[in-house]
């Protein structure tokens, strides 16, 4: 018998027999034949479990029961399964969950298409006792930064057996997050990671299991943070990993080398506005707040100001920023892109931070957290979490879908975690607003800066497309929070030619790779507007 393509590995410990029977049925119902299934019984107290497996193994030679002599828990049991596996890929299936009939064939199709794929993951949902499906998790395409914030790849994970063995399989000491630890280690070395945007796995929400309530297993989140910390240490990325506001979500606090020179570039015309009942010079407050919330000293603030900017504003900027201030006078007609390009070319830093003048920084260490991820060479741009003055979300990453350029989480309350924690963890995004973003200088020059043919709208969208075209990731950084006092009532005049220019370069966007819309199988109707994909799941 030649080695099968898939080795399904299932550690078994005392599942309800009818539940296990459902799981077995879901495997037997596969519309793909080339698999073996290794069920590792971890000394289940009831013989009925083993009897059921033996019965099926007797009927189907592809099914094998490995009986452990001692109870070794999930890690040991899973590793026994990996050891026994003969297939090219390991398929990780829990003893109470269900595969869709096309789960294996969908994976086989992708493997045939990419012979260098080392890791495949797909979408999932949950199944309750009644067999109802709910809580569909439509996942982003491969997002290494997001994997640090949460174990989002989860089920169904299919990994090349050789790679799993090379990285040492599951590790003791990470119980409850052993799958996250393995995914991080496989992700580090994988030549290619493929996301299958189809639900191939129904996760059974049995009370007390992790899928229903992660609080049931607090040790799991401690192990998870440790796994992520190990991962950062292995990659040599100086950071501290802590618990996020929800179990299973991790906060990554990076360290920025104090020697890194940072240039914050702010375009302004020196306007003042009424904020929370008092009048303020917007750019001055932006500069004051940005300086008050960072300890990074090697910093310059390049303010590109239009001719009508009042003298008073420049004087107050000098008072606020002292010798960190570089003033650049801009005398040509208004063009946001040109102003930013002029400012960035004048800047002396290795890292550029784009900042609007109508913001106020909220979070401590914002600059460090925004800039530090750029130390990873394949991160090309980072962005922030922005709120309106009324504490609702203005921006948490762009999404480009269904012909539109969207702020998908707009209008959620500030406290919201976002769908599947999207607001509270760092993650990859199709784009971020240039109202607050950071980029390496070399990237900026290589991609040609902001497109000056787009003086008002979509210049950041175009910039983001260029960054990704350049082969770099864009990372939304949850810990960088600012107010953005953009008027929410004002409808910015967007011209067709602006949209046409962006579409002309990059084509019509259909599905966002990082914020997939609901119901991919039933094409989303045209909902229009920026709020279409906002999913209030706070």
């Amino acid at each position: 018998m030649s080695a099968p393509l898939f080795s399904i590995v299932t550690p078994v410990y005392e599942p309800p027999v009818d539940v296990l029977a459902d799981t077995i049925a879901s495997v037997l119902a596969q519309d793909f034949e080339d698999w073996e299934w290794i069920l590792v019984d971890d000394c289940s107290p009831s013989e009925a479990v083993r009897d059921l497996i033996r019965e099926h193994a007797g009927r189907d030679p592809r099914i094998r029961l490995v009986e452990r002599e001692t109870n070794g828990h999930i890690v040991a049991a899973s590793n026994d399964g990996i050891e026994a596996a003969r297939g090219e890929f390991i398929v990780l299936l829990d003893h109470d969950d269900l595969l869709t009939p096309d789960a294996l064939s969908a994976n086989a199709k992708r493997i045939a298409r990419n012979d260098d794929v080392d890791y495949l993951y797909s979408d999932e949902d949950k199944v309750d006792d009644e067999g109802n499906l709910y809580d569909e998790f439509r996942k982003p395409d491969w997002s290494p930064e997001r994997l640090r914030g949460q174990m989002y790849t989860s089920h169904l994970s299919v990994m090349r057996t050789e790679v799993v063995r090379r990285v040492g399989g599951f590790r003791e000491g990470y119980d409850g997050s052993q799958d996250h630890d393995l995914a991080l280690r496989v992700g580090e070395v994988a030549r290619r990671v493929v996301h299958i945007p189809e639900v191939l796995y129904h996760w059974r929400a049995v009370v007390g299991s992790a899928s229903a309530d992660i609080n049931a297993k607090p040790y799991a989140t401690i192990a998870g943070a440790k796994a992520v910390q190990d991962h950062m240490d292995r990659l040599g990325l100086p950071a501290e990993v802590g618990q996020g506001p929800v179990p299973g979500h991790y906060r990554i606090t990076r360290r920025l080398d104090p020697a890194t020179r940072v240039s914050v570039v702010i375009p302004t015309i020196g306007q003042s506005a009424l904020i929370w009942g008092s009048r303020r010079l917007m750019v001055v407050e932006a500069v004051r707040s940005l300086l008050a919330h960072t300890e990074h000293e090697n910093l310059e603030i390049v303010v590109v100001y239009d001719k009508p900017t009042p003298r008073k504003v420049l004087r107050q900027l000098e008072e606020a920023a002292g010798d960190k201030l570089v003033l650049v006078r801009f005398t040509r007609p208004f063009n946001y892109s040109e102003k930013m390009n002029v400012g960035c070319l004048r800047a002396s830093g290795d890292r550029l931070v784009f900042l609007n003048d109508d913001v106020e920084v909220i979070s401590e260490g914002w600059l460090e957290q925004l800039v530090a991820p750029l130390d990873e060479p394949d991160v090309g741009l980072t962005g922030a979490r922005l709120y309106f003055g009324d504490d609702t979300v203005q921006h948490a990453g762009h999404a480009y879908a269904r012909g539109h350029y969207l702020h998908p989480f707009r209008d959620l309350p500030r406290e919201s975690y976002g769908p599947f924690g999207a607001l509270i963890i760092n993650r990859e995004a199709s784009g971020v607003t240039a109202a607050c973003a950071a980029m390496r200088r070399d990237t900026f020059v290589q991609i040609g800066g902001f497109c000056e043919a787009l003086p008002a709208n979509f210049n950041d969208v175009d910039l983001c497309y260029k960054v990704r075209r350049h082969g770099q990731r864009i990372v939304y950084v949850a810990a960088v929070e600012l107010y953005h006092f953009e008027s929410r009532t004002r409808e910015r005049a967007v011209h067709d030619w602006e949209r046409d220019l962006v579409r002309g370069r990059w084509g019509m966007p259909f599905v966002d790779p990082y914020v997939p819309g609901r119901g991919r199988r039933s094409p989303a109707g045209r909902k229009g507007g920026a709020r279409a994909t906002a999913r209030a799941r706070a």
Partner: protein, 347 residues
């Protein structure tokens, strides 16, 4: 009172270590020393034309040998036994070991006393002056007023001091003779009964020359100094002007570089955008070609079906016609019921 030096102080080491300055190997065989002393002898003969000369402190007698070569009745004394013993054979007889602190014996037209007295203790020096002035009326004298790193220079004095001691013995400087080829401080002393007037006049003449030179040099120095300041000023103002000019130029260049970089940036954006557009158009093109191929295939299918339909329609039409004909034929022939009725009614 400090001690004088002794014969042992002038062993081979003294000569070999080149304390005498100038050339190595202080012997008659050394061409350079020989040439030096021949030249000195020529000068001395030309100045004083002596018939007899005693060289006090003659060392290896090189000067004595050079004078003898010119027919001068020359001899020498030295306290260094090593020096006399190592003298050249041709001159050895003219030399003896003796000190100038003892009477010299005999009279000489000229006594040369070159770079010796500073090696003697002050008391010995006075004795030597006494003995020399007793033996001649003319003394060629030279004594370094400095050069204190030579260990045997134990009694250096300013030339004025030696001149005063000579004057005490009735010897005065010959101001008409310039011995600066020998050393800056060399003096030809001659016994003379000079009046104060003559002496004053001699020294005034010397003083006048020196004084005039000094004045002229001071003036020249002042002028040089002024010239340097004025050049300095010119240089500085020129430089600061140049610097300002260069700075303006640098600013201009900086602006140009910035402008060029800006152009490069926008050009790059244009290129990146165009590439993206080409890629997008290529994708669109591929998609449209796919659509076209599908549409063509569909068209083919539709045509085939159309043909089938036509064939079927032709068939149906023919059948239709046939049925219609049959129907018409039937209509022309009255029905069975009608025919029966007609028969029954007799019509």
């Amino acid at each position: 009172m400090s001690e004088g030096t002794r014969s042992e102080d002038y062993s081979g080491t003294y000569y070999n270590d080149a304390h005498l300055g100038g050339y190595d190997n202080y012997t008659w065989d050394n061409e350079e020393w020989r040439a030096f002393f021949h030249s000195l002898a020529d000068r001395v003969v030309a100045i004083a034309n002596p018939r007899s000369v005693l060289d006090v402190g003659c060392a290896r007698g090189l000067f004595v040998q050079a004078l003898a070569a010119r027919g001068v009745e020359a001899s020498g004394i030295d306290i260094s036994e090593h020096a006399i013993a190592s003298a050249h054979a041709d001159v050895r007889d003219r030399l003896r070991v003796a000190s100038a602190t003892a009477p010299l014996g005999g009279r000489y037209d000229l006594v040369t006393f070159i770079e010796v007295i500073e090696h003697m203790s002050p008391a010995d020096a006075q004795l030597a002056l006494d003995n020399i002035t007793a033996a001649t009326d003319l003394v060629l004298f030279s004594s370094s007023p400095g050069d204190h790193d030579e260990p045997t220079h134990i009694n250096t004095r300013p030339t004025a001091q030696w001149a005063a001691w000579f004057a005490e013995r009735g010897f005065f400087r010959r101001t008409d003779v310039d011995l600066s080829f020998l050393s800056p401080w060399a003096v030809l002393f001659e016994r003379g009964e000079l009046t104060l007037r003559t002496l004053t006049q001699r020294y005034e003449q010397q003083f006048a020359v020196v004084n005039t030179e000094l004045m002229e040099k001071r003036q020249a120095l002042l002028e040089s100094h002024r010239r340097i300041s004025s050049l300095n000023d010119q240089l500085e103002s020129g430089v600061s002007g140049k610097v300002a000019e260069q700075a303006a130029l640098v600013r201009q260049w900086e602006a140009e570089v910035l402008e060029a970089r800006h152009q490069l940036l926008t050009t790059r954006d244009h290129v990146v955008g165009t590439e993206a557009e080409v890629a997008r158009l290529t994708r669109d093109n591929e998609r449209l070609r796919g659509d076209l191929a599908r549409a063509k295939k569909q068209l083919g299918n539709v045509r085939g079906r159309l043909k089938q339909m036509r064939t079927r329609m032709g068939r149906l039409e023919r059948r239709n016609r046939k049925l219609a004909d049959e129907a018409a034929a039937l209509r022309r022939r009255p029905s069975f019921a009608r025919r029966a009725a007609r028969k029954a009614l007799g019509r």
